[in-house]
């Protein structure tokens, strides 16, 4: 039986049909504004006069067990204005097994839908071997500059838990950016904002019947820009995380992710079916731990073996993005991702008799902690082993890291440790810059205008690990040249010889490198005087931030450099001039350098400490003045006279 549409619905539908057409005849020609926008956004070929994302929610009555009842639809509509004639607009729309892209449309300035090119395929990330990530590349041929197109598409979220972040910045600048959540009365959603400080985001809440509209509005939003040293955008760019806590259906309240306990419960449900077969890995555990006397030695044996022998290859296809591969598979394939490695370590350690647990963590790329019950809160898995009440965090994806040492990227981050039906929240310890200490002791002699000498350098922490990793990854036949180039720091005037190579495999001890060298252009002779540069490394001298830099700057890690250089005064010479000592100390970084005349030699000392991994844009002026003063110190040199 066919149900004829009631009259009011017909009317409503025709109104709906009319509305978009009507809106199209809004302003579509912005030719008069192009010049201003070009000045305002000088590097952009397009701008969004308005970029609006509208998020609506629905309950799916047909959802079966295991399927999400709550769905979300994100409609994006962009008033796209080209700033040059006849440009080709290109956009990449990401989707995966949980999110589909539909209704991709472009409407030209005359209100006519135009044909767009759409090519979809898998999205390859260098770090991930295989995933369900897909991308549709959309191309639209635009008209003259200033003639706006309406570009729109929809993202359908099959499962509400995958709806997480909304950024106010995009790949092109927006004159006005709007993110509007239309939250129905049956849904409890929490909208958490990040990096809103000083971003000028307006928030408006309106109640329209059963719907609460929460709108975030930003104006004149610049485009994302990738620059060297840019931190992950979650750390700097304003964004909103949508936490869907619970919904009510037929008077019954059903919890989604109300708190971390719900997030943990879901993770646990996923990890319940890993299918580990401990007996298949037992022989390896016995082999690794036999002959080891102490508990720590046994734990180290397993941890280090996984680091060294399990290649990092990630499969993030569907649920595999959350569920570790079984321990026996990882062991036999000798590859796995962070989850696979964590799970293998856990099972091996359990077989060895230790209390080991899977542990979720968000790396330093993410500004969140577990007060935010969302899938975006973590991006990594490690293993925690508890020994005599002390928790050791084992990251199997690190290379050459020792037990009880932690990479910068996980230091200070909250961890979620499994504990049966419960969970434990803890935090990875934070180390000061001294953990990464590089100590250089150098002796210099002068013959003519050539400096020769030798150095002993100790590397610790991240400085040590990065050398070990780089050295291991270089082709065998190139290792010696590469090490020499590293010690020269790219300076072609330095010739390195007699490198005393350390054990590059050792995790516990500092890495010590000794070598001889000669340098050709650091002594200038003029008449009876010698001008001598005693520090040609000039660490951090080029670290000033450019005035037009858009992003904060993230260092690889914290730094602690100390240098002691002793120059033997050549016979017949005496000290005419030594540069003044210099010291500058800020709460997060400092520099101290001095020259001292001691009998027949000159002692140069330098200490640089950078105790903060990220420099914020607002800190750039102070930082640049710091670097300028360092350079002034570096730019002075010793004068000897006959």
């Amino acid at each position: 039986m066919i149900n004829p549409l009631p009259l009011y619905r017909k009317l409503f539908l025709s109104l709906l049909l009319f509305l978009p057409v009507y809106s199209l005849y809004g302003q579509a020609d912005f030719s008069d504004k192009v010049s201003n926008w070009k000045t305002q956004f000088p590097k952009s070929d397009f701008i969004a006069q308005q970029h609006k994302e509208t998020i609506t929610f629905s309950l799916d009555p047909q959802a079966t067990a295991g399927q999400s009842k709550v769905k979300a639809l994100v409609k994006t509509e962009i008033t796209l204005v080209p700033l040059r004639d006849y440009m080709k607009f290109e956009d990449g729309l990401f989707y995966n097994d949980q999110v589909s892209i539909d209704q991709v449309k472009a409407i030209n300035s005359k209100g006519k839908e135009v044909l767009l090119q759409k090519q979809c395929g898998s999205y390859n990330d260098d770090d991930i071997f295989h995933s369900d990530a897909r991308i549709c590349v959309v191309k639209i041929s635009m008209e003259e500059k200033g003639k706006a197109f309406t570009y729109r598409y929809e993202e359908n979220y099959k499962d509400i838990k995958f709806l997480t972040s909304f950024y106010l910045s995009n790949s092109m600048p927006a004159v006005e950016k709007l993110v509007e959540f239309q939250i129905p009365a049956w849904l409890e959603a929490d909208l958490r904002d990040f990096n809103f400080n000083g971003a000028g985001v307006e928030q408006v809440t309106l109640k329209e019947g059963e719907i609460t509209k929460k709108t975030f509005r930003a104006r004149d939003v610049p485009a994302y820009k990738r620059e060297p040293g840019s931190p992950n955008h979650a750390l700097s760019y304003p964004h909103i995380i949508c936490v869907t806590k619970a919904y009510t259906e037929n008077g019954q309240r059903k919890v989604l992710f109300e708190g971390v306990k719900d997030l943990y419960a879901w993770y646990r449900s996923v990890c319940d079916s890993i299918g580990n077969q401990p007996h298949q890995i037992k022989d390896k555990v016995v082999q690794l731990t036999s002959g080891k006397k102490t508990d720590l030695e046994k734990i180290e044996a397993i941890f280090y073996w996984v680091q060294d022998n399990i290649r990092y290859i990630a499969f993030e296809d569907g649920i595999m993005g959350f569920k570790p591969d079984a321990a026996q598979n990882v062991l036999s394939k000798k590859y796995g991702d962070c989850k696979g490695k964590a799970n293998l370590m856990k099972e091996m350690l359990k077989l060895a008799g230790y209390d080991a647990r899977l542990t979720w963590i968000g790396t330093s790329d993410l500004p969140y902690d577990y007060s935010l019950p969302s899938l975006c809160v973590d991006n990594h898995m490690i293993c925690t082993v508890i020994l005599d009440g002390k928790r050791y965090f084992l990251d199997g994806t690190e290379e050459f890291i020792a037990l009880n040492d932690y990479a910068q990227r996980i230091q200070g981050k909250q961890v979620l440790i499994e504990d049966g039906p419960n969970y434990i929240i803890d935090r990875v310890p934070v180390f000061p810059a001294e953990r990464n200490k590089v100590k250089r002791i150098t002796k210099l002699n002068i013959e003519g205008t050539t400096i020769s000498g030798n150095s002993q350098v100790e590397y610790n922490g991240e400085a040590k690990i990065s050398i070990q990793s780089a050295y291991a990854s270089i082709r065998n036949e190139n290792k010696t040249d590469a090490l020499s180039a590293f010690l020269r720091k790219g300076d072609d005037n330095v010739v390195i010889s007699n490198i005393k190579s350390p054990d590059f495999q050792d995790r516990q001890k500092m890495l010590q490198l000794g070598y001889d060298f000669s340098v050709n252009n650091q002594v200038t002779a003029a008449g009876n005087e010698l001008y001598i540069v005693m520090d040609w490394d000039k660490d951090f001298s080029s670290y000033d931030m450019e005035a037009d830099r858009m992003n904060d700057y993230e260092f690889d890690h914290k730094f602690h450099y100390t240098t002691q250089t002793e120059l033997a005064i050549p016979p017949g010479y005496k000290v005419e001039y030594l540069p003044e000592s210099f010291k500058k100390t800020y709460p997060d970084y400092s520099f101290e350098g001095s020259y001292t005349h001691k009998g027949k030699s000159i002692l140069y000392t330098k200490t640089i400490i950078i105790n903060k991994p990220i420099l914020r844009k607002k800190e750039f002026p102070e930082w640049n003045s710091f670097i300028k003063s360092i350079n002034k110190f570096y730019n002075d040199q010793v004068v000897l006279v006959k």
Binding site: K38, P42, R84, D85, Y86, G121, S122, N124, F129, H130, K145, N309, R311, I313, S332, K333, K334, Y335, A472, S473, I474, R475, N476, E477, N478, D492, N493, N520, N521, T524, A525, A526, G527, E529, Y531, V533, S541, S542, E576, Y577, P579, N631, K632, N635, D636, Q637, V638, V639
Partner: protein, 764 residues
């Protein structure tokens, strides 16, 4: 009846297939003993990986004579590689295996030989389909687009393992669409890892031949009678070449891989049905002959005789303009006519491009090299990126050659087509495929031959291109049929390619910054990387448009009738006023962008405090000595350093980054030296001596190294309150034998030493 016919056809087909299968040899059936080696020679034990064996085999068959298969040549490919992984770098690199299989029997097999000798087969069912293309090293030679690529993460792989894989593919080559000459290949036998053993093999049905040539010590092709199959109707002859103990490729400076390393070229060709050789049942032949000049003439002759609508437009306008100027007595000599014809054609081309209604369409037809030639895969990879520079558009070579030849013919001036072998591939006698060759137009002016590459926005008449330097080839004339003759393209000299940079330097009162005014002038090859960005604001277009403006013809009935008979043309400008000028809609942006580009170039060499100004003085697009010249003003940090009350000035840095030879380069050179072109690099630095200071160390700046390959000569003197420094670095040749390498060490080391020099400013 119908059933009977089907049955008969079926039986016939089966018989035909059976007879084919009975005769065609199989490929990849045997594994040579060389593949069984596990011990690595001592000298390669420290290498990242060693290729123990690699065998690539092709079988070319004709699947049948039915209507659907008559034009098909079936190419079966078999690749077998065995590689020992000796470090982590290799382990990571080979951690993922990619492959492409084509055809029903296409498959890959992979096994790992552990250090213990145990073999572990990899389950290929775990392979995943990949959307993106597989890396080049895993691509088959005969490759079709839109085929599936696969990848697999290799399990249980460890350092010390030997990986051993085979890939089989079958590819049907359709002669109707793809032609009778299969993809040609040029490659060096030096791989990225040392190779103990490698073999390439072709087995062909009769009626085919392989063109093969070995260079620089590569092995010769051999006939393998044992592997050949002789039949009454079909025969299959097998050829192979084998190479052993080959060192890995090196990355020498100034090196053309195909001229310096063992290289082979080959291609399988199906003989045309009317070729007498194709009728015989017997032998395929190995063709070691080079290019037949007559065939070259047939292949390339049309390149300067290919009129299209675009050509007609270019020639029509240009002829009208040039003829009028001649009538008005403004162009007197043929030399003037030739140059102005060239420039006028360029104006019309640029006008079509920058003012044309549908730029993308014009781009499709007028630019690039797509119209006429297929570029070799290898060549394409290494081809100079001629069309990717800033705001540069280049006319299609055929359109250019035809249009310029026709426009000159309209003025009774002959022009020829010069077909040449690009330098990096070899001499003329090294060429065996038409695809290796390229062409330019040749005109004679003032008794000298000019070789004109298809122009871009910026080329001055006769602009040199490094790939033409000293090449060998043939000229094709158009005044009579079958006229072609052997002639080279001469190399340019060091006086033709000049980089001249003049600095005026002073210091701030605080002696912390260096204030520089730099005037840069470039000529010839040295101009090419800078001329596009320097002219980015496009004011040259207005100059061209007004200089080469020709009043449109009146629309009289006579001219209309005449026009009706003419070839169709592309209309460009609507009105006279429009035609005379060019308004760049993005001028401000282009000016800003230009400044940023040049600022970045300075930043590459110096620590810039501030980049103030860029001023274009000469655009470099016209004239016999078409200098590109511009001036920049900027302030630099860190060139001055303090030493007590005195200062040191890093004057050497102002001559730009100089080559620092690596230790192994200082020890000698094993291969000949292929420089891009001879050149002169001159620097003049005038330093305003700050009040109260004297200069010391000038004598250290005086150098003089001069030999037959090159030189570095510098002078330094004090003139009043100015220090004047000059340097001249000459690369005198574009080629030298390796024995001349010490000459290069001498002048390059001197130049480097100068670049590290400092000047002492002493407080009086």
């Amino acid at each position: 009846m119908a059933y009977l016919r089907i049955l008969v056809t079926g039986i016939l087909l089966t018989v035909s297939l059976l007879s084919l299968h009975a005769q065609a040899p199989a490929i990849g059936v045997s594994v040579e003993d060389e593949f069984k080696v596990t011990a690595i020679p001592e000298q390669w034990k420290n290498e990242s990986a060693v290729i123990i064996g690699q065998r690539t085999e092709y079988l070319f068959t004709r699947p049948g004579s039915s209507k659907s298969t008559a034009a098909i040549v079936r190419i079966s490919e078999y690749v077998h590689k065995r590689i020992r992984l000796q470090d982590k770098n290799a382990l990571e690199k080979f951690s993922t295996f990619y492959y492409v299989t084509m055809g029903r029997d296409g498959k890959a097999e992979y096994k790992i030989v552990k250090a213990s000798g145990k073999e572990e087969a990899v389950d290929m069912k775990t392979a995943i389909e990949e959307d993106s293309e597989v890396p080049d090293i895993y691509k088959p030679i005969f490759y079709k687009l839109a085929i599936k690529s696969m990848k697999i993460a290799i399990p249980n792989l460890e350092i010390g393992d030997i990986i051993d894989y085979t890939i089989r593919s079958t590819f049907d080559w359709d002669m109707k669409s793809d032609g009778i000459q299969f993809t040609p290949f040029i490659f060096s036998l030096s791989n990225s890892y040392p190779t103990l053993y490698q073999q390439y093999r072709f087995t062909m049905a009769n009626g085919m031949k392989v063109k093969y040539r070995n260079y620089n010590g590569a092995p010769t092709l051999k006939f393998d009678n044992k592997a050949s199959v002789y039949g009454d109707r079909e025969s299959y002859l097998s050829y192979y070449f084998m190479d052993k103990n080959r060192e890995k490729s090196s990355e020498d400076r100034w090196n053309f891989e195909f001229r310096n390393t063992p290289t082979v070229k080959f291609r399988v060709v199906l003989l045309a049905d009317n070729d007498p050789e194709s009728k015989g049942l017997g032998e395929a032949t190995v063709d070691r002959a080079g290019i037949d000049p007559a065939a070259m003439y047939r292949y390339f002759g049309g390149a300067a005789a290919y009129p299209t609508t675009t050509v007609n437009s270019l020639v029509g306008y240009t002829t009208e303009y040039i003829s009028k100027k001649r009538r008005d007595g403004l162009l007197k000599t043929n030399d003037e006519v030739i140059k102005e014809t060239y420039y006028c054609l360029r104006k019309v081309f640029l006008e079509m491009y920058y003012k044309g209604p549908v730029r993308s369409e014009l781009e499709k037809y007028m630019t690039g090299k797509k119209l006429y030639k297929k570029v070799l895969a290898q060549q394409k990879k290494e081809e100079e990126k001629k069309e990717e520079r800033q705001d540069e558009i280049r006319i299609n070579s055929i359109t250019f050659a035809t249009a310029l030849r026709m426009a000159l013919a309209a003025q009774q001036i002959p022009a020829e087509l010069q077909v040449y072998m690009p330098r990096k591939l070899g001499n003329w006698r090294d060429a065996i495929f038409m695809e290796e060759l390229d062409f330019v137009l040749k005109v004679k002016l003032k008794g000298k031959a000019y070789f004109l590459e298809a122009f871009n926005n910026f080329d001055a008449f006769g602009t040199p291109y490094s790939y033409l330097e000293g090449t060998e080839g043939y000229s094709i004339g158009y005044d009579a049929p079958d006229r072609y003759y052997r002639t080279p393209i001469p190399a340019t000299g060091m006086q033709d390619n000049v980089e001249r940079e003049e600095y005026a330097i002073r210091f701030t009162d605080a002696m912390d910054l260096t204030i520089a005014e730099k005037t840069s002038s470039y000529l010839g090859n040295d101009k090419s990387s800078r001329i596009g960005p320097a002219n980015l604001e496009r004011s040259y277009l207005s100059y061209d448009f007004s200089k080469y403006f020709s009043e449109p013809k009146t629309n009289s009935s006579e001219s209309k009738r005449k026009k009706d008979k003419e070839e169709p043309v592309v209309a460009v400008s609507a009105t006279t006023t429009d035609a005379l000028k060019y308004e760049d809609p993005d001028k401000e942006e282009h000016v800003r962008e230009r400044k940023e580009i040049f600022e970045k170039m300075i930043r590459n060499d110096l620590d810039l405090e501030k980049y103030d100004n860029f001023e274009l003085i000469r655009d470099g697009r016209f004239g016999d000595t078409a200098w590109l010249q511009y001036r920049e003003n900027f302030t630099v940090n860190k060139l001055l350093s303090k030493a007590g009350k005195n200062y040191l000035f890093d004057v050497g840095k102002l001559i730009g980054g100089q080559i620092k030879l690596e230790t192994h380069e200082l020890q000698g050179r094993k291969v000949d030296i292929w420089l891009p072109y001879a050149r002169t690099i001159q620097n003049t630095i005038a330093i305003q001596l700050p009040a109260g200071y004297t200069a010391d160390g000038l004598q250290e700046l005086v150098m003089n190294v001069d030999n037959e390959s090159g030189s570095f000569i510098s002078t330094a003197k004090l003139e009043g309150d100015k220090i004047l420094i000059t340097t001249t670095k000459l690369y005198k040749k574009n080629f030298d034998k390796k024995e001349a390498w010490p000459n290069y060490i001498a002048f390059l080391e001197a130049a480097y030493k100068f670049s590290q020099s400092k000047l002492v400013l002493k407080k009086k």
